[in-house]
Amino acid sequence: MKLSGLKSVDNAHDESLWAVTWVPATATRSPLLLTGSLDETVKLWKSDDLVLDRTNTGHCLGVASVAAHPLGSIAASSSLDSFVRVFDVDSNATIATLEAPPSEVWQLKFDPKGSLLAVAGGSSASVKLWDTNTWELVATLSIPRPEGPKPTDRSSSKKFVLSVAWSPDGKRLACGSMDGTLSVFDVVRAKFIHHLEGHHMPVRSLAYSPYDPRLLFSASDDAHVHMYDADGGSLVQAMSGHASWVLSVDVSPDGAAVATGSSDKTVRLWDLSMRAAVQTMSNHTDQVWGVAFRPPGGSDVRGGRLVSVSDDKSIALYDYS
C-alpha cells in the first residue's frame, strides 16, 4: 500500500485549516470535499482537481469541525462559538442551526444511517445526539463522574469531550476527552458502557474501523495512536512514530491502513498488518489538523483518496492504493 501526492492547494483558506471531511457522492454528483478554517468559513471543493465550489460563511468564530451526512446531501459545521450549522450541501440553504451552551460543541459526526448527529459536548462531559429529521436533541450521553455529582466540582472540566466516533453498525458510540480516557456508550439504550484507558493526554480524534466494528483507533497528544478493542475495553496496540501530538486519525475504507496527521507536520500511513508506519508524507509545512479517506461509493470512483489539511492553509490530496 502506498500514498502518492495528487494535488495540493496552497492558501485554500485565509487562515489555518482545522477540519476536513468528504461529502459522499449523490446520484447527481461525485464526492465533494468540505473544509473548515479559522477564517470562519467553510469551503466546498470538487474532488481530484480541488476546484473551489463554494464558500459558506455564517460562523462568528473559527470552524472546529465539519461533518457530512452519509447520503451526501446534508452537512454540518461547528465553530468555537458553539453553533452548529446544518446546511444543504448543494444549495447552501441552512437547514438548522443548533445552538449549544458555549464550550459544549466540539467534533461532529453523523451516524452511519444518517438519523442522528453526534456532537462531542466539550465541557458538558457528554455527547449530544440530535435527530436529523426534527433537529431536536434526543439524548445526552454523559460520562459518569467518578464520585457522585457535585455541581461546582472542577473535575468536570477535566472531562472535556473533544472527539466522537460511531461504530459502523451505529450501535456504539465512543468519545475521547482531554484527560486521555475514552468512553464507550450503547446508543440504543443510551447507556455508558465503559472507559478505555491508556492515553494520558487529550484525545483529539477517534475512528472505528469500517471493516471490524470492534476496532477503535484513537489519536492523542501523547504522540501515540492506540488501537482498542472497543467492546472488550482493552488496549490492543499502541503505535508510536510521530514526534509530536497526533491530531487526527482515519481508517481506510478497506480497513487495512490508518492515516494520521500530526503536529510534527507529517501525515503517516500505518499498515495494520505490519503495525508500523509505512510511509511519511512531509509535504505540509505546518501541523496537520485533519486527514480523511474518501468513503467508497459513487459511480465514477476509481481509486482510494486521502486528503489532509494543515495550519499552513493548504489542502493536499493523495492517491491511496
Binding site: 487562515e15 489555518s16 482545522w18 479559522l38 462568528c60 468564530l61 473559527g62 472546529a64 468555537l80 462559538d81 458553539s82 451552551p101 458555549p102 464550550s103 459544549e104 466540539w106 466539550g122 465541557s123 458538558s124 455541581p151 461546582t152 472542577r154 468536570s156 472540566s157 477535566k158 472535556f160 473533544l162 482531554m178 487529550p202 497528544d221 509530536s244 501530538w245 503536529s263 505546518d286 501541523q287 495550519d311
Partner: protein, 1168 residues
C-alpha cells in the same frame, strides 16, 4: 620493587605500591591491570583497612572485568573505610545510577555524608538526588554543604537556586542563580528561571534582560522566548497604565514579534498562542492615533484616511488576537479563561467595527463565549464579572454580577460594574451605595471615582471635588472616557489650563480620534493655554470628525465647534478666517450670542467698524431674550466695542439709554465702573452704584475698590497730574474693610510712593506685604517687591542698620525690611528676566554705595549690574517708563564713574543720558551731573555752559535746584544770582504739603554757603529759619547749635549760648539714634552757662553716642575731666565706666592721639 616484594611478601603496602605502579604503567592494556588487581587483592587481604586498595579493585571490576556487583562491593568497602573518598563515591554512585538503584544511591550518599562532614561528593550527589525527588528543603541543606566543598561549581548553585525557587524564596533563588551565571555564562536554565522569578516579582524590565541574555546563548529556547514576550507585555502594560501609549505600542510590537516567532516554532502550545493573543489585544487597545497636524488640518480626506488606518490597525490587531485565542482554544478547549478572552476580544472587535450600531449577533457572541468560560468553571467569580460586563441584557448583567459577588463579596470591580448598571437604569441611590462599597473595598479602582464625579449633582459635590475624583480615576486608569469627562469637569472648575487636563485630553485624542468631542475639548484646552493656532487646528479636526462620522450629531454640537473655531481664529489674530467661519455660520442661521460676539469682534479686527457695529446692534436687539449670564457678557462686549469704535461719549450715551435691568451682574458692573472712571462727568453715577450691588465675592469687591481708586485718580486729578491723594484716601478706607487684599495693598503702596508726602515712602513699604518671591502675583499693577525696592531707594537712610559711616536721622526708619538688597537679589535670581528688579537693585546698590562713600568693590558690582541692565533690549522700547529707566541707569553709571574719578566716562554716560528724549524735568539732572563732572575737571568753560543749560531746562524737583545752588556757590558761578532762588520758590509753590521741609533744607544750604563765606550771623539766621520750618529735623538743630556755639565763642554773648543749648537739646528729642558731637556741644554750652552737673551728664552721654572704635581722643580727654570731678565730689551715682582713674582716661586719649601736646601736659600734671 619486585625484589623487595619477594623479600617481604607479607607487606601490604608493598603490594599496594606494586599494584598502583602496574595500574598506572599498564595504560589501556588489560593484562597489567589484571596483575595489578592481584596485588591489590593481596594487599587488601593483608591490610583490610586500606581503602585505596578497594578503590582500585573497584575500578578494576568496574572498568576492566565488568563485574558490577563486585565493583559495587569494593567501592562500598572503600567508602566505609574512607568516606571522603570522592573517586570511589562518584564511581559507586554512577554504577548504582546505571543500575537504576536510586534509593540505594541515596542511602549510600546519606551514610557517607553522615559519617564525614568532608564527604562533599556525597552532599553533592545527595543534593542533586533530592532535587530530582523534589525534596526541596533537604536539598537546600545538602547543596549548601556541598557548595562549601565545591564553591565554584555552577551546577550546584543552579540546583540550589532551583530548590530555593520551589520553596518560594525568590530573592535567595535569584542570588543563587546569579552566582551560577557568574561562574558559567552559558547557563540558560538559570537565566530563564531568573527571568521567570523577576516576572513573578513584577520586575518586568529585569526579567526581559535575563531572557535576552538567555536568548543570546540559546536562540531557540522557547521558554526564554515566551518569557521575553511575557516580560515585554508586562512592561508595556506598565507603560500603558501610565498613559505612554506610543511606548507601550512599540514594546508590544517587539513582544508580538517574539511571541509570533516562538508560536510558529512550537505550534501546539496553547499558552504561547494565548500570550500572542494577549499581546495583540493589548496592542489593539493601546495603539495611539498619531497625526501630523499640519497635513491633516486642511484636508478632510486625509484626516479620514488617517482615522481609518488607525482604526484598521487596531482592528487588525484585535482580529489577530482573536485568531490566536482561537488557536489556543482549539488546542486546549478545556481552558475556561480562553473563552473569556475571546469574549472580551469579540467585544472589542465589535466596538471597533461599528461604533454606534450595536450588532446584536456580535453582542451575543461575546456573551456566549463568556458563558462558555462559566460552564467550564462555574465557581470562578471573575468569569461572572466578565459575563456581567459583556452581556447586553441588563437582567443577565445584574444576575452575573451578583453571582460573582456571592462567590467573592469583596470584589470591588463587580460592585463597580453593578453600580454602573444601576446608574444606567436610573437607580441612583442604589448605584451610589454600590459605588461607595466598591470604593471602600478598593480605593485603587478607577470606576467608582469616575462615578463620583459623574454624580456631582446628586451628591451635592462641589465641582472641584468632582474634578478631583475624576482626576483620580484618570490617574488610576487612563481611559479616554474618563479623560474626556475630566476635561469637561475642568471646563466647569476652570482648570482647563492645568497640565493634568492637558495630558489627559492629549491621551484621549490618541485613543479616540474619531470622537469630535475629544478634539473639541482638546481645542478648548489649547485655548485655555493661549495656544490659539493649535486650538483652531483641533476644532478643525473636530469638524472633520463630525463630517466623516456616519452618526448624526445634534446641530448644536456642530455649531458649538464652529463657534469655537471662529473664536480661536480671531484670538489667534487671523480675522479673515474667523470672518469666513462666522459668515458661514450666519448663512446657516446658526449664529448665537457668542457667535455674534465673535463675528463683531472679527469685523472690528478686520477694520470693518460699521459692520461690526451693526452686528453689535443685532446682538443688543436680542438682549431681552437671553439668559442672565449671557446678557452680562453681551453687554460687556457691546460696551467695550462701542468704546473702541466710537469713543467714550457714545458709550456713555448708550449706557444711559439702556434699561437698568440689564446691568444686574458683576461683570457689567466692572465695565460700567471703568467707563464711569474715564468719563469726567457723573452721568453714570446712579447706574454704576446700582450695578455694584451685584458684586458678591470678596475677590470681586476688592477688585472693584481697586478700580474705584484708579477712577478717583483720574477724576480728581488735574490735566497733568493724577489725584493721588483721593485714591490713597479711598484705598485706606477700603483696606480697613478688606485688610487681606494684596491687590489693594500694592496699589496703595504704589500710590504712596508716587505721592509727594513726607514719609509716604515708609508708609508704602509698610503697607505692602512681601510674599516669598515665588508667590508674588504677576498680574498686579506693581508687585510688592517693586514697591519695597523703590521704597527703600526713596529713603536715604534705609539699608544702614549699623551706623558706622553715617548717622541717619530719619525718624521714620523702616525696620521691617532692612534688607531689600538681598530680597531684590532673590527676585532676580528667581526671574533673571525681571528687569524691574535689576533696575531697583542697581538703585539700591547706588544708595548703599553712597552711604558707604563709594567703596571700590561696590562700584565694580554696580558697574556690572548697570552694564547688564543697559544691554537689555527693553530699553529700545519707546515707552516713557523704559526710557526713564535707561536714563536713570546711565546717570547711575555716570555717577559711579565720577566717584571713581573716571571723568571722561562719566561725561560720556551723562551725555548719553542727556540725549534721551525725556521731559526737561528729568534731563536737568543729566546736565547737573555734567556740571559736576566738568567742575571736577576744572573745565570752567563747559561748566558754565552746562550750568546755563540747567537753568534753561528747569525742573520741578527741589533737590535739583539745591544741588545746582551748591555747585554754583562752590565754583562761584553767579551769573544770575537770583535765578535759582526764584526757580526754587516756584517749584516749592507747586510742591504741596512738603514745601516747609524743602524750604528748611534750602535755608540750610544757604546757611552753609554763608558759613563758607564766614558770615556766621546770617548763617545763624538762616539756620534758625530752617529750624522753625522743620522743627523735627535733628540735623538742622545740630547745625544751628554748632553755629550758635561758634558765635558764642566769638564773644557774642550768652544769648547765643542759650540758643545753642536750646537747639542742641532738641537734637536729642528728635533723633532716634544719638548723634555724636551734639552732646559734647551741649555740655560745653551748659558748662559755659554755669551748670557743672549738666556738663558732666552730657559728656557722659556723649560717650555712648559714639561707636566704640570711633571715639575720638578728645572725648576720652574730656571724660578725664568728668572723672576728676567725680573723684573730687565722690559722687554716688558713678558708673563702672567712669569710675576708672582720670589718669587712665588721659592715657587712653594719648594712646589714640599721641601728637597732642595738651594731653601730655595734663598727664605730667596728673603724675605730679
Amino acid at each position: 620493587m619486585q625484589e623487595s616484594l619477594d623479600a617481604q611478601p607479607d607487606d601490604a603496602s608493598l603490594h599496594f605500591d606494586m599494584g598502583v605502579f602496574l595500574w598506572d604503567k599498564g595504560g589501556e592494556a588489560k593484562e597489567p591491570k589484571e596483575k595489578a588487581a592481584e596485588h591489590f587483592v593481596i594487599s587488601a587481604k593483608l591490610n583490610p583497612k586500606n581503602g585505596d586498595a578497594f578503590k582500585f579493585l573497584g575500578h578494576y571490576y568496574g572498568c576492566v572485568a565488568r563485574d558490577t556487583q563486585r565493583a559495587i562491593k569494593c567501592y562500598q568497602r572503600a567508602i566505609t573505610l574512607n568516606p571522603d573518598d570522592s573517586d570511589s563515591g562518584e564511581a559507586l554512585c554512577d554504577l548504582l545510577d546505571e543500575g537504576g538503584k536510586e534509593s540505594l544511591e541515596v542511602a549510600v550518599c546519606h551514610e557517607a555524608s553522615e559519617r564525614s562532614p568532608r564527604a562533599f561528593w556525597a552532599f553533592r550527589r545527595l543534593g542533586y538526588l533530592q532535587v530530582h525527588r523534589k525534596k526541596w528543603t533537604d536539598a537546600v541543606q545538602s547543596l549548601q554543604h556541598a557548595i562549601r566543598g565545591y564553591p565554584t561549581c555552577a551546577d550546584l548553585w543552579e540546583a540550589l537556586g532551583l530548590a530555593y525557587q520551589r520553596l518560594g524564596r525568590f530573592t535567595a533563588a535569584l542570588k543563587s542563580y546569579g552566582r551560577a551565571i557568574e561562574l558559567d555564562h552559558s547557563l540558560v536554565f538559570a537565566l530563564v528561571e531568573s527571568g521567570n522569578i523577576s516576572l513573578t516579582l513584577a520586575a518586568s524590565k529585569k526579567g526581559v534582560d535575563h531572557f535576552r541574555l538567555a536568548l543570546e546563548i540559546s536562540p531557540c529556547c522557547v521558554s526564554a522566548h515566551y518569557g521575553l514576550a511575557f516580560g515585554l507585555l508586562g512592561f508595556a502594560k506598565e507603560c500603558i497604565n501610565r498613559g505612554a501609549y506610543q511606548w507601550g505600542a512599540s514594546l508590544l510590537e517587539e513582544a508580538s514579534e517574539v511571541a509570533r516567532a516562538s508560536a510558529y516554532v512550537v505550534k501546539n502550545i496553547s499558552s504561547i498562542w494565548k500570550l500572542h493573543a494577549d499581546i495583540q489585544l493589548a496592542y489593539a487597545r493601546c495603539y495611539p492615533w498619531n497625526a501630523e497636524v499640519q497635513v491633516l488640518v486642511s484636508d478632510k480626506e486625509a484626516f479620514k484616511a488617517s482615522i481609518l488606518s488607525w482604526r484598521k490597525t487596531c482592528l487588525l490587531a484585535a482580529r489577530c488576537a482573536r485568531f490566536s485565542y482561537q488557536r489556543a482554544l482549539h488546542l486546549a478547549p478545556w481552558q475556561p479563561n480562553i473563552y473569556a478572552d475571546i469574549a472580551v476580544t469579540s467585544d472589542l472587535i465589535t466596538s471597533l467595527e461599528n461604533n454606534y450600531k450595536q450588532d446584536s449577533n456580535a453582542r451575543k457572541l461575546s456573551e456566549k463565549m463568556s458563558m462558555g468560560a462559566l460552564l467550564l468553571e462555574g465557581d470562578n467569580y471573575e468569569f461572572w464579572v466578565a459575563l456581567g460586563y459583556l452581556s447586553g441584557h441588563n437582567a443577565l448583567k445584574q444576575h452575573a454580577l451578583i453571582r460573582g459577588l456571592q462567590l467573592n463579596v469583596s470584589l470591588a470591580i463587580a460592585w463597580g460594574y453593578l453600580g454602573k448598571l444601576y446608574r444606567k437604569e436610573g437607580e441612583k441611590i442604589l448605584a451610589r451605595q454600590v459605588f461607595d462599597r466598591a470604593r471602600s473595598i478598593d480605593p485603587g479602582l478607577a470606576l467608582p471615582w469616575a462615578s463620583m464625579s459623574a454624580e456631582c449633582h446628586s451628591r451635592e459635590l462641589a465641582p472641584v471635588e468632582a474634578f478631583e475624583s475624576c482626576l483620580r480615576a484618570v490617574q488610576i486608569m487612563p481611559l479616554a472616557e474618563f479623560q474626556i469627562g475630566l476635561t469637561k469637569l475642568a471646563l466647569r472648575t476652570g482648570d482647563l489650563s492645568s497640565s493634568q487636563v492637558y495630558g489627559a485630553i492629549k491621551q484621549a485624542v490618541q485613543r479616540s480620534p474619531q470622537y469630535p468631542e475629544s478634539h473639541n475639548l482638546n481645542g478648548l484646552v489649547f485655548e485655555a493655554r493661549k495656544d490659539y493656532l493649535s486650538a483652531a487646528a483641533s476644532y478643525r479636526f473636530a469638524r472633520h470628525a463630525i463630517d466623516i462620522s456616519s452618526q448624526n450629531f445634534p446641530n448644536t454640537q456642530i455649531r458649538d465647534v464652529s463657534i469655537n473655531l471662529a473664536r480661536s481664529l480671531s484670538k489667534a489674530g487671523s480675522a479673515v478666517d474667523a470672518l469666513q467661519e462666522c459668515e458661514h455660520l450666519k448663512k446657516e442661521g446658526a449664529l448665537d450670542i457668542e457667535g455674534l460676539q465673535v463675528y463683531a469682534f472679527s469685523l472690528w479686527q478686520h477694520g470693518e467698524n460699521d459692520l461690526a457695529l451693526s452686528v453689535a446692534r443685532s446682538l443688543a436687539a436680542s438682549l431681552s431674550s437671553m439668559e442672565k449670564t449671557s446678557v452680562a457678557t453681551s453687554i460687556c462686549f457691546i460696551c467695550r466695542l462701542l468704546y473702541y469704535i466710537c469713543g467714550l461719549d457714545a458709550v456713555t450715551n448708550n449706557i444711559v439709554k439702556m434699561p437698568k435691568e440689564l446691568f444686574q451682574s458683576s461683570e457689567v458692573s466692572f465695565v460700567l465702573s471703568a467707563i464711569h472712571a474715564l468719563n469726567g462727568h457723573n452721568h453714570l453715577g446712579s447706574v454704576v452704584s446700582s450695578s455694584r450691588s451685584f458684586l458678591t465675592s470678596h475677590e470681586e469687591i476688592t477688585r472693584m475698590h481697586f478700580l474705584i481708586a484708579l477712577g478717583k485718580l483720574v477724576k480728581n486729578g488735574s490735566e497733568c497730574c493724577l489725584g493721588i491723594q483721593s485714591g490713597v484716601a479711598h484705598l485706606r478706607k477700603a483696606l480697613h474693610m478688606y485688610p487681606s487684599s494684596n491687590l489693594m495693598r500694592n496699589l496703595l503702596g504704589y500710590l504712596l510712593l508716587s505721592c509727594k508726602e513726607l514719609n509716604s515712602c515708609h508708609l508704602a513699604v509698610r503697607c505692602c506685604k512681601l510674599d516669598p518671591p515665588d508667590l508674588s502675583n504677576q498680574e498686579d499693577l506693581k508687585s510688592a517687591s517693586d514697591i519695597h525696592g523703590a521704597g527703600s531707594v526713596s529713603c536715604y537712610a534705609i539699608g544702614n542698620s549699623n551706623p558706622k559711616l553715617t548717622f541717619p536721622t530719619c525718624t521714620k526708619q523702616c525696620r521691617t525690611n532692612p534688607d531689600s538688597i538681598r530680597y531684590l537679589q532673590k527676585c532676580l535670581h528667581q526671574n533673571p528676566w525681571n528687569h524691574n528688579a535689576r533696575y531697583l537693585l542697581v538703585l539700591n546698590f547706588l544708595q548703599k554705595a553712597r552711604e558707604e562713600k563709594f567703596p571700590h568693590h561696590l562700584c565694580v558690582t554696580i558697574n556690572r549690574l548697570i552694564f547688564l541692565a543697559l544691554s537689555n533690549e527693553l530699553h529700545y522700547k519707546i515707552e516713557v517708563s523704559y526710557q526713564y529707566q535707561q536714563f536713570q541707569l546711565l546717570l547711575c553709571a555716570s555717577e559711579i564713574s565720577l566717584q571713581c574719578g573716571n571723568r571722561s566716562t562719566c561725561i560720556t554716560y551723562a551725555k548719553k543720558a542727556a540725549a534721551i528724549v525725556l521731559p526737561d524735568d528729568y534731563l536737568f539732572f543729566a546736565h547737573l551731573l555734567l556740571c559736576r563732572a566738568h567742575a571736577m575737571k576744572g573745565d570752567l568753560l563747559n561748566l558754565q555752559e552746562e550750568y546755563t543749560r540747567c537753568l534753561e531746562l528747569r525742573t520741578d524737583c527741589h533737590i535739583g535746584w539745591i544741588c545746582l545752588k551748591l555747585v554754583e556757590s562752590q565754583y562761584q558761578l553767579q551769573i544770575n544770582s537770583n535765578a535759582i532762588d526764584l526757580n526754587f520758590e516756584r517749584s516749592v509753590k507747586k510742591g504741596g504739603n512738603l514745601w516747609k521741609m524743602w524750604m528748611a533744607v534750602y535755608n540750610l544750604v544757604r546757611g552753609l554757603i554763608s558759613l563758607q563765606n564766614r558770615d556766621l550771623l546770617s548763617a545763624e539766621e538762616l539756620m534758625a529759619q530752617a529750624c522753625s520750618l522743620a522743627d523735627s529735623e535733628s540735623c538742622l538743630h545740630l547745625c544751628h547749635g554748632a553755629i550758635c556755639m561758634e558765635l558764642g565763642r566769638q564773644c557774642h554773648g550768652s544769648l547765643f549760648l542759650s540758643r545753642a543749648a536750646n537747639s542742641l537739646s532738641k537734637v536729642h528729642e528728635h533723633s532716634m539714634i544719638p548723634l555724636p558731637l551734639a552732646r559734647i556741644l551741649l555740655a560745653q554750652a551748659e558748662g559755659s552757662l554755669g551748670s557743672k552737673e549738666k556738663w558732666a551728664t552730657n559728656l557722659r552721654l556723649e560717650w555712648y553716642s559714639w561707636p566704640p572704635e570711633q571715639r575720638p581722643a578728645e572725648l576720652s580727654f574730656l571724660i578725664h575731666l568728668v572723672a576728676r570731678q567725680l573723684k573730687a565730689g565722690s559722687n554716688s551715682q558713678s558708673t563702672v565706666v567712669f569710675s576708672t582713674s582720670p589718669r587712665r582716661w588721659v592715657l587712653q586719649a594719648i594712646h589714640i592721639n599721641p601728637s597732642s601736646m595738651r594731653y601730655w601736659r595734663v598727664l605730667l600734671k596728673l603724675l605730679e
